[in-house]
Amino acid sequence: MRLLIVEDEPDLLASMAQALREEGYAVDTAADGEDGLFRAETVDYDAIILDIMLPAMDGWTVLKNLRRAKKTPVLMLTARDQSRDRVKGLDTGADDYVVKPFDLPELFARLRALIRRSANRTTSRLEIGRVVIDTAARTVAQDARLVEITAREYALLEYLALHRGEVVTRATLYEHLFGDDDDTLSNLLDVHVSNLRKKLGHDFISTRRGHGYCIE
C-alpha cells in the first residue's frame, strides 16, 4: 500500500511518515499543497493524508483539483474541529476526517478502513481458502496457525488479496509497495513473491507471464 502525506509541519510529517512505514506502507511526502497535488495526480496512491492549512495551496484546493482527475481515498487532517469545516471537507470530496491532535492507532485504523472501503471490502478479515488475513492486526494465518511474515511481504499479500481475481502488474505492485525513498532493486518483487509462496504454498500466488501476479 502506498500513501502520500501532505503536511507542512516538518516534525509531524517525519514522524507520521516513519510510523506509517513501520506499519508496512510505502510512504511519499509533500510539504506544501502544490507538490502534494502534483504527486497525487501522477501516482496512483492507495490513500492520501492531506493537511488543510498548507503553504502554496491549501488542502481544500488540492482536494478539489484532485477530484477532477482521481478518486484516490483522501483523509483530511486539520486542527479545526468545527463541524462546518468537517462538512466542507466531506462535501469537497474527502473520504474521512481526523482532527489534530490524534492518536496514531486511530489514524492507522481510519486509513485501513479507507483502503478497505475503496476495495469494496467491509471487514478487516480476508479469507482466501485456508489463509486468513487480518488487516487490522496485520497478521496472516494458515489453518488457524500464524504465519511469520515480513512487513513488505504482508503489504504484497494484502494488495493482491484486496485485488483478488485480478491480474496485478509488476509495475502496479512496484508503485503501491515502494515509496520514492525506497531502493527498488528490480528483482526485489520476485524475492517477496518467492518467500510468500514458500510460506503459504506454491499455488497460492499464480504468475501470469508477461502480465503480473494474481491470487485466484
Partner: protein, 507 residues
C-alpha cells in the same frame, strides 16, 4: 408578569384617571342639575308663599289677622304683616270668641285659591300657623304633619328679591326637602307662619333618570377610553416587544439577530438603531474572539500533535538511543513552540486587560535601537541583509524592554521578509514632540489585500510556518505601542519594500 407589564400599569393609571375625571364630571353635572331643580322648586314655593301671604294680607282675610271671614277685614285694608296685629292670631285662644277645636273655615282670596288647587294631591298645598304656633288653616291636600324645619336647609332669599311684606324686618324663609316632599316656610316677623309645599316625586324621578344617564354615559366613556387606551398602549408597546424579542434571541446566542423596525425616526426607532449597531459590534467582537480562540487552539494543536505522534511512534517498539534522542529533540522543539505561543497569548491577554505593567523610565532611544540591531545581526548576516542605523540620541520615557521587544520584532520581520543582499534601514527623529522610529526594508513587500490585516492576531500573509512565528508578533507590538499611547503603522508596496512607523509621544 402581566401585573408588572408596562401596558397593564399604563392601563391601570389611565383607567384610574379616567374614573376620577368621569366621576368628578358626573357628580358636578348631577349636583348642578339637582341645585337647579331645587332652586326652581324653591323659587316656585317662594312665589306661591308670598302670593299667598300677599293675598291674605290684601284680602284682610284669614291668616295672621285671625279667623275672620273673607271680607271681614276693614275694607280690605288689613294691617300689614309687619305691624303689630290688633288682635291675636287665630287659634291662639278665644279672643274672637270662637270655641277652639275645629279649624275655622276660611275662604282663600281668589288669586290665592288658584295657586292651590286641592283637587290633585300632587298639587301645591299650604298650612297656616297662628302667632301661638297653632294651625289656622290648611289646604285639603296638605299632609298631616309638616316637615321639620331644622338643620342646614335654610335658604335665605336673594337680596334683590322684591319683598312684598314690608321692609323693616323681613320674614324668615326656610326651605326643606325631605323624602319626596319640598316645603317652604315663611315666618312672619310678628309671629305666625305659612308653610307651602308640594310633592317632588316626579322631579326626583327625573333627577334619578339624569343620574342614571350620567352613570351609563360614564361607563360607556370609561369602556371606550380603556379600550382605546389598550389599543394605543399596544401600538406603543409593540416596538418594545420587537426589541425585547430580538434581544432575547441574541441573548440566546443568535448574534445575527437584528431589531426590525420600519419606523426609525421615533424615539423607539432611534433606540432600535442604537441597539442594532451595538449588536453588530457585539457580533463582530464575538466573532473576533471566536476566531482568536480557534486560532490559538489551532496553533497549540499542531505541536501537541507532533509530540503525541512522535512519542507514540517511539514507544511502539524498542528503539536505538539515537532514535530516542531524536524523539526527545522533536518533542523539545514542539514544547518550545508551545511555550512561546503561551507566553505570547498571555502577554496579549494582559495587554488587552491593561494589566501589563509598563515601566516609566527615561531611556535613550538610540541605545535601544543599537542594542536591537546587535541582537538581530546574526540573523541579518545569515540572510545577507544589511542593517543600517540612523539614530541620534533621543530621550524617551516608557518601558525600554518593551520598546526593544517591538523593535526586535520589527527588525526580525524586516530581515526575514527581505531579499538576499537586501537592506533594512532604521531611522529615528522627533516631530512635534513625538518620537518617530521608521523601520524600512526593501524586501518582498506585503500584498495590498493583506496589508490591512497584518496586525490581526494569528494573521500570516504567506500561510507558511515561519520558524518560531505564530502570527502574534505584530499584534503584540501594536498592543505594546498603544499601551505607551503611541501608534504603529505599516505601508508597503509589493517588490519595493515595507515600512513600519512607530510614533511615541515624548512627555
Amino acid at each position: 408578569m402581566i401585573a408588572n407589564s408596562i401596558r397593564t400599569r399604563l392601563q391601570l393609571w389611565y383607567g384610574l384617571i379616567l374614573v376620577v375625571v368621569l366621576t368628578g364630571f358626573g357628580v358636578t353635572a348631577y349636583e348642578l342639575e339637582r341645585g337647579h331643580l331645587f332652586g326652581r322648586i324653591n323659587s316656585e314655593l317662594d312665589r306661591r308663599a308670598n302670593l299667598l301671604a300677599d293675598a291674605m294680607h290684601h284680602s284682610g282675610g284669614p291668616g295672621p289677622e285671625g279667623g275672620r271671614g273673607p271680607g271681614g277685614g276693614p275694607g280690605g285694608e288689613g294691617p300689614p304683616f309687619d305691624r303689630p296685629p290688633q288682635r291675636g292670631f287665630p287659634g291662639d285662644g278665644p279672643p274672637d270668641g270662637r270655641p277652639g277645636g275645629s279649624p275655622p273655615v276660611l275662604q282663600l282670596p281668589p288669586q290665592a285659591a288658584g295657586l292651590f288647587d286641592a283637587s290633585d294631591p300632587n298639587n301645591f298645598y299650604f298650612i297656616m300657623y297662628g302667632k301661638e304656633g297653632g294651625e289656622v288653616r290648611r289646604s285639603t291636600n296638605a299632609p298631616p304633619e309638616p316637615l321639620s324645619f331644622t338643620g342646614p336647609t335654610v335658604v335665605n332669599p336673594p337680596p334683590d328679591d322684591p319683598h312684598p311684606l314690608g321692609n323693616r324686618r323681613p320674614p324668615t324663609h326656610t326651605f326643606v326637602i325631605q323624602g319626596n316632599r319640598a316645603e317652604y316656610k315663611l315666618d312672619m316677623p310678628l309671629g305666625g307662619s305659612f308653610v307651602v309645599g308640594c310633592t317632588i316625586a316626579p322631579e326626583l324621578q327625573a333627577l334619578r333618570l339624569v343620574a342614571l344617564k350620567l352613570s351609563v354615559a360614564g361607563v360607556v366613556i370609561l369602556g371606550l377610553g380603556i379600550g382605546g387606551g389598550w389599543w394605543l398602549a399596544t401600538r406603543a408597546i409593540r416596538p418594545i416587544e420587537d426589541i425585547s424579542a430580538a434581544a432575547a434571541k441574541i441573548s440566546a446566542g443568535d448574534l445575527a439577530q437584528r431589531i426590525n423596525l420600519a419606523d426609525t425616526e421615533s424615539e423607539l426607532g432611534r433606540l432600535a438603531t442604537v441597539l442594532n449597531s451595538t449588536f453588530a459590534r457585539l457580533e463582530a467582537a464575538f466573532a473576533q474572539q471566536q476566531q482568536f480562540t480557534s486560532d490559538a487552539a489551532h496553533e497549540l494543536r499542531t505541536p501537541v500533535t507532533v509530540m503525541l505522534t512522535q512519542t507514540q511512534l517511539s514507544l511502539g517498539r524498542e528503539r536505538s538511543p539515537a532514535e530516542y534522542r531524536q524523539t526527545l529533540e522533536t518533542c523539545q522543539r514542539a514544547a518550545q513552540r508551545m511555550r512561546r505561543l503561551i507566553e505570547s497569548l498571555l502577554a496579549l491577554a494582559r495587554l488587552d486587560a491593561g494589566q501589563e505593567a509598563m515601566q516609566h523610565l527615561k531611556f535613550d532611544l538610540a541605545t535601544v535601537i543599537h542594542d536591537c540591531a546587535d541582537l538581530v545581526q546574526p540573523l541579518a548576516a545569515d540572510r545577507g541583509v544589511t542593517v543600517v542605523l540612523e539614530a541620534s540620541p533621543l530621550e524617551c520615557v516608557g518601558d525600554p524592554e518593551r520598546i526593544a521587544q517591538v523593535l526586535t520584532n520589527l527588525l526580525t520581520n524586516a530581515i526575514h521578509y527581505n531579499r538576499p543582499q537586501g537592506e533594512v534601514r532604521v531611522t529615528s527623529a522627533v516631530q512635534d514632540g513625538i518620537a518617530i522610529i521608521i523601520v524600512r526594508d526593501n524586501g518582498t513587500g506585503i500584498a495590498p489585500e493583506d496589508l490591512p490585516r497584518v496586525f490581526e492576531r494569528f494573521y500570516r500573509s504567506d500561510k507558511s510556518r515561519t520558524p518560531g512565528g505564530h502570527g502574534l508578533g505584530l499584534s503584540i507590538c501594536k498592543a505594546i505601542i498603544e499601551a505607551h499611547s503611541g501608534s504603529l503603522e505599516v505601508a508597503s508596496e509589493v517588490g519595493v519594500g515595507t515600512t513600519f512607523t512607530v510614533r511615541l509621544p515624548i512627555p
